[in-house]
Structures are given as C-alpha cells and as structure tokens.
C-alpha cells in the first residue's frame, strides 16, 4: 500500500535541510531563513498524505522496519509507524514548525545559520520520537530533541538564559536517565531480544516491578509535561527562550510527556497505572488550580502564558488518566489545542516583545487603540485559551472534564472544572491590562500594528482554532480506535482476558500454567 517510506521521509527531510544549511555561507541570512522555511514547509506538505491515507483503525500504519544496531545481547531496530494518537501530533509538529521558523524571522539576527540548523534538528528529533515503535529508538530521539532546544534557549535566549537552559536540560535529563534504566529492565524482563513496543505491550509484569518502572517512566514524562511540582523549569525556559523556542517547547515538546504517558507508561504498566491514578489525578488537579493562581499574579506576560500551560497540561493529564473514550480523546485533543492556542499566545507575546523589548504587563495598556488587528487576534487566541465554546479549547476541555466526571475521578473533575473560572480570570485580566485602558505610555503610542508576515503566521492558527472548535469530528474520528486500544491495554483487559483463557478456574501461579497445558 505504501511503497514510499513517508514517515522516514518527513523525519529526515529536516536533517537533509540541516546538511544543506551547512554548506551555505553564514552571511546570507535571508537565504538561510528561506531555505529553513522552505524545508519545513515541504515537510508539512509531505506529511499531509499521512492524514488522507490514514485508515481509521487501531493498527499502526505506514510501518517501516530495518535492523539497526546489534550489539551483544541487544538488538535495536529502526521501527516506525503511526496510529491515531501519534498521527495528529506528527501533523501538529510539521504544522507548527514553519510558523515557528517564520516567527523569529527578524528577531534572531545573530548566528542565523546555527539557529536554523537547531530548529530543523529539533524537528527531526520530535518527529522521530512521535513515530518510534522501538523503545530504544524513541529514547534516542527523545534525547536528540533535548540538545537543539538547550542551545536555542542557551544561545538565543534572554537575560537569564544560561540558568534557564541548564535547568531545562538537567530537569529533563534526570528524568530520561531513569527512563533509560527502566527501559533496560523492561528489555531484560521481556527477554524478547529487541525493543519492540508491541512485544512489550503483551508482557505481563508482576505488580511490584510495574510500580517501580512506572515511576521511572512517569518521572521522565511528568517532568516533560510538566506536572506539579516538577514544573518550575517551564516558566524559566519559556521566559528566556526566543519566540520560536517557546512556541515549539509549548506546542510540541510538552506533548512528549503526555504522549509518553499514553503510549508507554500507561499501556505498559496497567496495574501501576491503576495504582497511581489517584496520585496523578491529584497532582493534575493541583496543577490546574495552582498554576492558575500563580498565573494570575504574574507580572510578565510570557511567564503568565507559561503557567497557563501548566494548567492546560493538567487538564490533559486528568483526561488521559480518566481512561475512558471521552477523557483520553479530550486529552489528546487538548494536547493539539494547547499546541495551537498556547503556541499562538507565545507568538503574540513575541510580537509585542519585538516591538517594545519588554514583557512586563505594567509597561503596556491601551494597545487596542494602536493595534486593532493585533487586538482582534489576541482576543481570539485568549478566548481559545480559556476554552470558549466555538473555539478549539472548549471541545478538548469539555471532553476531558466529562470523561473524568464519568470515571472514578469524579471529584477531581469537580475541582478541575473550577479551573475554567480561574483561567478566565487570569487571561482576561492580563488581556485587559495589556490591551485595554488608556494608552498613556508614550512608547506604546508609536507601536505599529502587525505586519503582513505576522498576520500570515497567525492565520493558519486562527483557522485551526475555529476549525477544531466547530468541526472537531475528523480529529476525534481518526483517533478513536487507537484510543480504544490504549484504554484496553491500560486497563489490563487484554491481560485479564488472556489469563482467564489460560487458567480456566484453578487459582495458582500463572507461570506454571503453560506447562500443565502442554502436558495435556
């Protein structure tokens, strides 16, 4: 059916772009930017067929397989494929990247070549992580992703960039190292001879092992999400990163965490998932409320948006751990929504930062008068972020909450719902202080409205905001079967069913059972 290795193509096209950039002179900034933009656009166009060609079922599609590294007892394979869950994240990545590249078109003037190389490298890393079906491959991409981001924050960041970059790196790295350990334990427990995810899914581990391994995986992912109380790297990283960095970080990289939960932590360790659901739900709910409260009192627009990210991701986690169709679908949608609307918010912050070189709310006020187009776009994005019906934010948030409400997490959902009040408070208050009021700061009176490039950046995002708000069916439809599968694995149904089949009635250690069956 698919003779063309389309997933590899989109994953490694940016790498080809990197190679191309290597040979370009670093003085021709325009050319460098254009090439990077064109590469990312081509990747986006090439990635579209995976939506149209995607069959709505639970299977992994567009699979590719090649043996990769064979070292002693280890066999790592290049095994990729997507299902309904990763499909939209891949598309989100390819969709956001051109926007991100375009966003710092003028803001980054130094080391343009290196900057563009970092961005494209990052794209490869992120795409690779989303499509990997081999745990080791996933880990490799997961780490690859980290490095360009570290440089993006550390080189092109703000005042406190080194601190932020280090904090980001060490936080994330700490988690991923533990994940690597768990990965190896899993490998040896499975004894399967390779890191194939499918094989690991079928594994039945004893609960104690599951607990530890879930914790290791969960820590890595929870840091990335980030979940309360592991979130403090996020505001710093976001505030210091250049606009494109913040956009990518918020829109895509944070999704690695939640994606990791859905793809790995939950289906691999069903018992532990059940055991830790209350804990995760509690942390999510605390995250929602806490981040909202903290966001409310921020003085820096970008930090506020960063904290709002924490709150939004709290919703995602709550939905995902509700472990029912609505909850997980809502969580997945919310991941995409958050990518779009928070990405857009960071772009907006970038726009005014580029003009005024400040992000303090107090320095603004009354911008609506001076920048009507900007005001309109800002308003729409703000509303999307607070989940106004008709925008994308609502659909995801609603599904998450109703899903959680139906499940055993009812009380958590009840508290989380109050997040909708708080989100309105902090976002609108910020909007009011920035956009409304009197235009009394002389510096603000000379502000120019958005230029064509900036409007062009925002339009696709606005289209997505309304599209997903008004007609989300295509998105939900494609992910439904995959979600069913994830839920089945995470609830351990398959395991239970298999055990029941193997052991008709007699209790006793499951391990001994096959021998008895064979003897018959």
């Amino acid at each position: 059916m698919n003779s063309m290795p389309i997933l590899s193509l989109i994953t490694f096209l940016p790498l080809a772009g990197v190679l191309l950039l290597f040979f370009l002179p670093k003085e021709s900034k325009g050319l460098l930017r254009s090439i990077a933009l064109i590469v990312s656009l081509v990747v986006f166009v090439v990635s579209l067929p995976i939506v149209t060609g995607f069959q709505t079922n639970a299977e992994f599609q567009f699979n590719e397989f090649a043996p990769w590294i064979a070292a002693g007892p280890f066999q790592m394979n290049y095994s990729v494929g997507i299902d309904g869950i990763s499909l939209w994240l891949v598309i989100l990545t390819t969709f956001i990247m051109p926007i991100a590249i375009l966003s710092t078109w003028t803001a980054v003037e130094e080391r343009v070549k290196e900057y563009m190389i970092c961005l494209l490298l990052l794209e490869t890393g992120m795409l690779g992580a989303f499509i990997s079906l081999d745990l080791f491959l996933f880990y490799v991409f997961w780490e690859i992703m980290l490095i360009p981001m570290y440089f993006i924050i550390g080189i092109w960041g703000g005042k406190n960039k080194i601190y932020a970059a280090l904090k980001f790196f060490i936080y994330t790295f700490l988690g991923s190292v533990l994940m690597l350990v768990a990965l190896l334990v899993l490998y040896f427990k499975a004894g399967a001879g390779d890191f194939n995810l499918m094989k690991f899914y079928e594994l039945s581990l004893d609960p104690a092992t599951q607990t530890w391994m879930f914790l290791a995986f969960a820590l890595a992912f929870a840091i990335k999400v980030p979940m309360f109380p592991l979130h403090t790297w996020l505001p710093d990283a976001h505030t210091e990163a250049p606009t494109a960095g913040s956009v990518i970080l918020a829109a895509i990289m944070l999704k690695m965490g939640t994606y990791g939960f859905v793809r790995f932590a939950m289906p691999l360790f069903p018992n532990a998932t059940e055991q830790f659901t209350p804990l995760i739900a509690t942390l999510s709910v605390i995250g929602i409320i806490y981040a909202a409260l903290v966001a409310m009192v921020q003085e820096d627009v970008k930090k506020l948006v960063a904290y709002s990210s924490v709150a939004h991701l709290g919703f995602v986690m709550l939905g995902v751990f509700a472990l029912n169709q609505q909850g997980v679908a809502g969580g997945m949608l919310q991941m995409i929504n958050h990518g779009i609307s928070t990405g857009a918010l960071f772009l907006i912050v970038g726009f005014i930062y580029e003009r005024r070189h400040t992000r303090l709310i107090a320095d603004f006020g009354g911008l609506s008068k001076q920048m009507p187009v900007f005001a309109t776009i800002f308003m729409i994005v703000t509303l999307s972020s607070i989940g106004l019906p008709g925008t994308n934010g609502f659909v995801g948030e609603f599904l998450v909450l109703i899903g959680a409400y139906e499940s055993s997490l009812r009380w958590y959902a009840l508290i989380a719902t109050s997040g909708v009040i708080l989100s309105a408070v902090y976002m609108l208050w910020m909007f009011q202080r920035v956009m409304f009021g009197e235009l009394n700061n002389p510096k603000n009176q000379e502000l120019k409205d958005l230029n064509a490039r900036e409007v062009v950046i925002m339009i696709p995002l606005l289209v997505m905001i309304f599209w997903m708000g008004i007609y989300p069916t295509p998105f939900i439809e494609k992910m439904t079967p995959a979600i069913d599968k994830v839920i089945a694995y995470s609830k351990g149904k398959k395991l239970a069913a298999a055990l029941q089949q193997a052991i008709p009635s007699a209790p006793g250690p499951a391990v001994m059972q096959p021998a008895i069956l064979e003897s018959k």
Binding site: Y171, V294, Q298, S368, I402, V420, V425, G437, T473, T480
Partner: protein
C-alpha cells in the same frame, strides 16, 4: 419554513462577519448599521414564518428538530449542531429577533459618530447570533455555546469603551462572574449526563431525549444536585444573588447594549434554561425552594438598592436584577408559564425603559456638550423637567414605568400579578408561600417607588442643568424614537395575550393564549405535579385571588404615591430622611458594600494565595529544592576543583602517581 431554522442564527452571523472584517473599510455608518439591522430583520422574518407555521399545527406537533451536523462525538457522548423549535424557543426567537431588531435600529441613531461604529454592530450581530443559538440549540452543549457566546459579547460590549478602565473592569467582572455560573452549568451537564448514562444507559445531552426520559429521574437526591448546579449557571447569567454584582457595573457599556443584553435577552437566559429543564426542577422541591428563595431575595434586595441610586442606568440595572428575581420566584414556585410570560413582558418594557433612558442620556450629553459642561449626563440629579423637551421619550417611558409598576391594564401587571398569585397559591412550599408572596409584594412596592422616583426626577420638576445647556435639549431623531414607540406599544398590549383566567372568564371566556401556547412544554411537569401532590392540592377561592390582585394594585399605588410625595410634593423629605439615617443611606447607596465584601472574601484571598503559591511555594520550595541541590553540588565541586590546579606538572604528577599505584597493586598482589 421550519426547514430553514438554521438561517435564523446564520443571518446575524453573516452580518457579524461582514461588519467585522470589512466594516472598517466601509466607513459609511448607514451601510454598516443598516446591514446589521437588516440581518436581524431577516432573522425576524424567518422566525415569524416559523412561529406562524407552528401556530398552524396542532399543539402536540409543535416540535421540530433539525440536525445540521454532528459536532462532537466520542464514545457514548454525542452532541449535534442542531436546532430545536418548539413553542418555548419559538417565543424566545421572536423576542430576541424582534426586540433585537428594534435595538439595532435604535443603535444606528444612538451610536452615530462613535469611533468603532462597525465594531459595535459586529458585536451586536454576534450577540444576536449567540443568543439565537442559546435558545435554539437542541442539546445542552449547543446551548452552552450560545450561553458562553452571549457572555463573550456582553464582555466585548461592556468593554466597548475600552480606554476607560472602569469599562474594562466591568467587562471582566461580567465575564468572570458568568464563568462562575458556567462552572455550575458544566457540572450540571456532567452530572445529568453521567447519572442518566450510568444508571439508565441513556447517554445523551439532547433536550428532547432527556425530556422523553425524564421519568427515569428520581425525585430529589441527585436531581436536586443537578438542578442546583444548573441554577448556579442561571444565577451567573441572570444576575441573581450571589452573582448579581456584575450587572449594575455592566452599565458601562453603550445604552442600547444594556437594553438588549442586560435587560431584554441575555440575562433572561437563566429563566429560559430553567423553563427548558422544568422537568428536572419539578422533581426536586428542595431545588425549587432554593430557586424561589433566591429569586425573592434578589427581587427585594436589588429593589432596595435601586431606591438610592442616582445614575439613571444603575437604577434600571437594579430594577432588572429585581425583575429577574421575580422571574426566578415564578420558576421556583412551579409557575413556569408565568415566569416566561414575565420574561417576555419585561423584555418589552425594560427594553423600552433602557432605550428611553438612552434617549435622555443622548440628549443630555448633547446639551452638556454644547454648554461645555462636564456634568454627568447620566446623573438624575442633573435632570428634571425633560418631559417638555422630549415628549415622545417621556410618554413611552411613562407607559413602560406604569407597566413595570404593575398598574392594571398594562403588560407588567398581568405577568407580575400571576407570579405573586402563584407564589401564594402553589402547592410546593407550604407555609413558606406566604413569606415568598410577602417578599414579592414588598419588592413590587419598592419597584413602583423607585421607578416613579426615576420618572419624577427625570421628567418632572425643574430642569437642573444650566440654562445654556437647557436650550440644547431636544427630542431624539425618529430612528431613536421609533423603536421607543413600538416597544412602548408592546409594553401596553403585550400582556393581553396572557390574560389571567379570572379576568378572561369575566370578559366572556377569553382563554390565556400564552399558557395554551406553552402548554406542550410544561405539560409533563404539570402532570407530574398532579400525581405527586394530588393529596396536597389546595383550592383557593376566586375571592382570595381577586383580593390578592387588588392588594398588589394597592401596593403599586402606595409605591407610586410615596414617590410622588417625596419627589414632587415635598422634595425636602428625602434629604431629611438621609440625614436621619446616614448609615442606612450610605449602606444602600453603596449597594450594601457587596462588592467590597466580595473583594475581601474572594478576590483578595485569591490574589494573596496566588502570590503565596508563586513566591512562597514555587520560588522558595520547589525552586529552592532544585537550586539547593545545584548549590550542594556546586559547593562540593568548589572543594574538589582545587585539585584541578591547571599546572601541567601537577597533572604529570598525578599520572605518575597513577602508574606507581597500578604497578604497586600489580606487584604486591
């Protein structure tokens, strides 16, 4: 015609899109305003067609559902984008498009020359669209879309003069308070959906399906919870205690907005919702009692504040809160028809009052502007004697005031009297009925008082602005007065479609058309009541009903005469009164300090908590731990780093040391 129900919200939406995107380029106010009004008028025509078609059908077939597409579907959860036309929503769309159209026309005149004229009309059209979605939505989720949509438009329109801080604040307050309500609304949806699905495997949010399965709901228990959740939503949107404080502040918006959104349509959404979900409320006496008490309390509470305000629009705003209280009182005593009836008549006369006040402000503003005076054109203390300068405004205003005060023959009387009677005679709340009725009656008395106080201060007596300004006072143009006249007329005659049975019988059995019309909606609830409370049915004599009707007339007249005494006959008394009870007056004038209390109880603690979480927990505890680990490592390494002298021979020495050690180990072993 029914097939085209989708057009009703679509027309204003088109208007919104055109005005929003191109309005700035069009520049011509007539085109922009005309387009806005025309679009609403088109909706009005379609609505009328639908209404006529419904009337043409037998009562039980007056329901029609049209699904446009599936909006959200996930697992058992399914919400369509679809419209439900039944007598209740047909009535509502008539009110929304009818009153909406008039106010659009009015706005063309009122907003003339404003900066961002196109923006105003775009918002207004968007509002109309959302409101129509709210009333037409065939499921709770779509209703919620409209519900939030109107909230958004309200936010945008209150903040229309965004350069004023107070306007921005008011808009935000409105939105946030509404969000508190939405929180309840959402929980209501969740609980209902979950309960019906979990216990009866009916997974739906569709109104018709829920209504059809209403018999599965128990009495009390979880239903009380659901009903109360929804009621929280209603208190937010319809400005009831405790979430009413945003409405008076919302007067920062342009006056036609106050008329449309904060009087006639949006704020009644809560009433509409309870009407729509009547089968839930009827199954929970506790919830109904709460609704009734909150309604009654709001009615009297807001009325007291209304008596001491000097800003013409604020008086009307508190009046609106109070009247909404009446509607909820009606809902809470099971008089759904009466509540919806009052909703409709209130839409007429309150819209007329707001537009009238707008006309006055417009004129005052104009006059003061010419006289280069900086007096507040909205302050009634600056007005007086306007009836000569503005006869049409005066007349329509007076008619509506009489209507709201509850003088027989005008629309307000029929609806308000019905509510009071039901409050007295309903079979639900037993001994509390008399209190509910009493509260309502006192509130009605206050209503008559402050409304006539308003009329007397504005239109009677001596004009209190400078003579120079006075010369510039004149009647508003036709584009403003025409809607006033239409609404004034409706305020008079609107009540006659819902004559109480008592009066109808007297005139040869004229039926209560209004009740008949809404019968299919509330029939289930009535039947249920009869089943449940057959034993408790209390029969009241006609004499009692006549007596109470008379009493409410007397109450209204008392209110009016007090107002007359205080503000026309002997204007010195109010001064004396406030001097005698300064504390009381201050408290009432400052709205019982509710805003301050809320600030103290919720806003400031929230901010303090936020600050604590940020600077206390985030920075100190979490980052403290993170950075603490980092500094421990750094401290350790700053000790070890001294080993790294940077001198080559020291490195050479350590190499040799290593060699010696290794050989030693090898040799000694």
């Amino acid at each position: 015609m029914l097939e085209y129900v989708g057009l009703i919200p679509l027309f204003p939406f088109i208007g919104f899109v055109i005005n929003g995107l191109l309005g700035k380029k069009i520049k011509n106010e007539k085109v922009v305003g005309g387009l806005g009004a025309l679009m609403v008028f088109c909706s009005f025509l379609v609505s009328s067609g639908i209404l006529l078609q419904l009337i043409g059908r037998p009562a039980e077939e007056r329901i029609f559902e049209k699904v446009i597409f599936t909006w959200i579907q996930s697992g058992q959860f399914k919400a369509d984008a679809g419209f439900l036309v039944d007598p209740l929503s047909a009535l509502m769309i008539m009110v929304v498009t009818g009153v909406g159209f008039l106010i659009h026309v009015y706005s063309i005149g009122y907003m003339h020359g404003e900066e961002g004229f196109y923006r105003y009309f775009a918002y207004l059209n968007l509002f109309t669209c959302s409101m129509l979605l709210l009333v037409l939505g065939n499921n709770m989720l779509l209703m919620f879309v409209g519900w939030e949509g109107v909230g958004l438009c309200s936010y945008l329109l209150i903040g229309y003069y965004f350069h004023k801080k107070s306007a921005g604040d008011a808009g935000k307050k409105a939105f946030v308070m509404n969000r508190v309500g939405d929180f309840g609304f959402l929980l209501g949806i969740f609980t209902l959906f979950w309960y019906m699905g979990q216990t009866h495997n009916v997974w739906t949010v569709n109104f018709r399906e829920i209504a059809a399965n209403a018999h599965l709901l128990p009495v009390g228990g979880v239903v009380t919870l659901i009903a109360l959740f929804f009621f929280i939503g209603a208190t937010g949107k319809s400005a009831q205690i405790p979430l009413y404080t945003w409405l008076p502040d919302a007067m920062e918006g342009p006056t036609p907005v106050s008329a449309l959104i904060h009087a006639a349509t949006m704020v009644t959404a809560g009433v509409y919702m309870i009407g729509r979900l009547n089968f839930i409320y009827i199954r929970s006496h506790e919830a109904m009692l709460v609704v009734a008490i909150v309604g009654a309390a709001t009615a009297i509470f807001a009325a007291t504040i209304g008596t001491a305000q000097n800003d013409i629009k604020r008086v009307l705003a508190y009046s609106t809160v109070s009247q909404l209280g009446f509607m909820f009182l009606a809902m809470g005593v099971g008089a759904f028809t009466a509540g919806v009836f009052h909703l409709m008549t209130h839409a007429f006369f309150k819209a007329c009052l707001f537009l009238g006040s707008g006309s006055v402000i417009h004129s005052m503003h104009h006059a003061l502007h010419h006289a280069h005076s900086h007096d507040d054109p909205q302050d009634m203390r600056n007005m007086g004697g306007l009836r000569k300068a503005m006869p049409i405004t005066y007349l329509t205003f007076l008619v509506s005031t009489i209507a709201i005060a509850g003088i027989p023959g005008f629309s307000g009387f029929f609806s308000k009297d019905e509510i009071l009677w039901q409050a007295f005679s309903n079979p639900f709340h037993g001994g509390l009925n008399i209190i509910l009725w009493g509260t309502g009656a006192v509130a009605a008395c206050f209503t008559a008082f402050y409304m006539f106080r308003l009329v007397f201060m504005t239109f009677f007596g001596e004009c209190r602005i400078t003579a120079k300004a006075k010369d510039h006072l004149h009647e508003s143009p036709l584009v403003i007065t025409f809607p006033l006249m239409v609404l004034g007329l409706l305020a008079v005659v609107g009540g006659y479609i819902g004559l109480p049975k008592l009066i109808g019988d007297m005139f040869g059995g004229i039926p209560n058309y209004f009740e008949q019309w809404l019968e299919p909606i509330f029939a289930g609830s009535h039947e249920f009541t009869l089943q449940q409370l057959a034993h408790a049915e209390v029969h009241h004599s006609h004499a009692l009903e006549w007596g109470l009707m008379g009493a409410s007339v007397v109450i209204a007249i008392v209110g009016i005469s007090v107002a007359y005494t205080l503000y026309i006959a002997s204007p010195q008394i109010p001064k004396k009164f406030t001097d005698a009870f300064p504390a009381l007056h201050r408290a009432v004038y400052n709205k019982w300090y509710i805003d301050e209390i809320y600030d103290f109880l919720f806003v400031n603690p929230c901010k303090a908590l936020g600050n604590f979480c940020w600077k206390g927990f985030d920075v100190l505890v979490v980052d403290g731990a993170v950075n603490g680990v980092a500094s421990i490592v750094r401290g350790f390494s700053s000790v070890i780093k001294n080993l790294q002298t940077g001198y080559v021979h020291n490195y050479a020495l350590s190499i040799v040391l290593g060699v010696v050690t290794i050989i030693a180990v090898y040799v000694i072993r």
